[in-house]
Amino acid sequence: MRALLLAVLLVLTGCSSSQEPTRTVTVFAAASLTEVFTAIGKDFEAANPGVRITFNFAGSSALAQQINQGAPADVFASAAPANMKQVTDALAPVTFTRNQLEIAVPKGNPGKITGLADFGDANRKIALCAEQVPCGAAAKKALAAAGVTGAPDTLEQDVKAALTKVRLGEVDAALVYRTDVKAAGAEVEGIDFPEAASAVNDYPIAVLGKAPNAADAKRFVDFVLSDRGKTALTNAGFTAP
């Protein structure tokens, strides 16, 4: 059975095997980092010839599980400290950026949403993230801080799904990250609210203990923490820690 699995794996990976002299850094990063990390990765590759960055973007908890099951990752960038804690193998995580919530409404704000108080209105269609995912946990905190009992119509499995519902106009409002509103462009409008400060999400990053390419992994993390990395993150709507 083991031999068979090996054979299957060889077949599956065989096509992508290469003779490149380059070294590869595999970065597992939270889905909300997709756009900004792709850009940072390009910059890093330009500055470090011979190093290639491969990304695996997904929900932080899914990534944490994959790493714990032995996925060959060099770097893990999580959207929440809790998921970083699940990874026993992370070496000295540092918070490299922060994200805060914003109210996302469809273009033109058809539901006439003005603030967090509207999230308790049962007549409005509201999407939140499920509590099990970071944006849901943050939303819960923010609503509590505002003293609003949320009346969501749906608890989405991740922030992108919540945003999709806003984009399609299926809901009047959703609580998502500022970065997501920014990335969504003109279809979605963002509304800031004061309680957002009480539910800021820290993003930790760490090199992994079993990193196949620890040296380059460290250089990538340093690059993210550098001024160039910070600028890119700020431009994408993240806030400095």
Partner: protein, 265 residues
Amino acid sequence: MNGRRVSRGRLPAVLVLPALVGLAFLVLPLVGLLLRTPWAELPTRLFSTGVGEALQLSLLCASLATVVCVVLGVPLAWVLARGELPGRRLIRALVTVPLVLPPVVGGVALLLVLGRRGPVGELLDSWFGVSLPFTTAGVVVAEAFVAMPFLVISVEGALRAADPRIEEAAATLGASRWLTFRRVTLPSVMPGVVAGTVLCWARALGEFGATITFAGNFPGETTTMPLAVYLALESDPQAAIVLSVVLLAVSVAVLASLRDRWVGG
């Protein structure tokens, strides 16, 4: 040609080996799941309200979706198998679209049409005050959309395999096409209909992508077992395993009893 038949019972290895590997491939993940199940916690988790609610909702929605599929899908299969329509090949290809479409995309497509800004959804809302997304009815719609091809393909196959002259015999005996369909055609393709229904139900029960995209996720209303499993996986993998095992056990029990009842074991 007249060589002695040696041991009719022995099967050729060239078939048996791949068969065993295939079986292992299907069963091993299941075994993995069972091995990791926290059996001690099972009863307490099982009777937590969330699980019962999700399971009940799953069974209800899958069954309703199956009814929708049978009511709409069997006639569709009949038209595809017997009707002399122009562009029948194209229609048949279209029917299988939900099979190839990633379910999430199917969910988005449903939103685009039946959502409150979709052309049909808008009409439903203004005429009947009905809004499907984020409702239990929406779950049924999403599940039916994804599961219907299984029924249609299965029933159409059975209809094509059936001798169309048996319908002619009924016609010469004075039976209208509807009576013929009801009393002659349908009973003769019943095994195909049952097989299709079972497939359809199983597919609806396990449906995740289209459901969460179109109907969203809200406990007691649209959170079916697969959605509950997915979200549990985010925070509590053990709970996810328990939910999966429950879903598995229930579906296997239902399918096995159906098989005994209809397919005659």
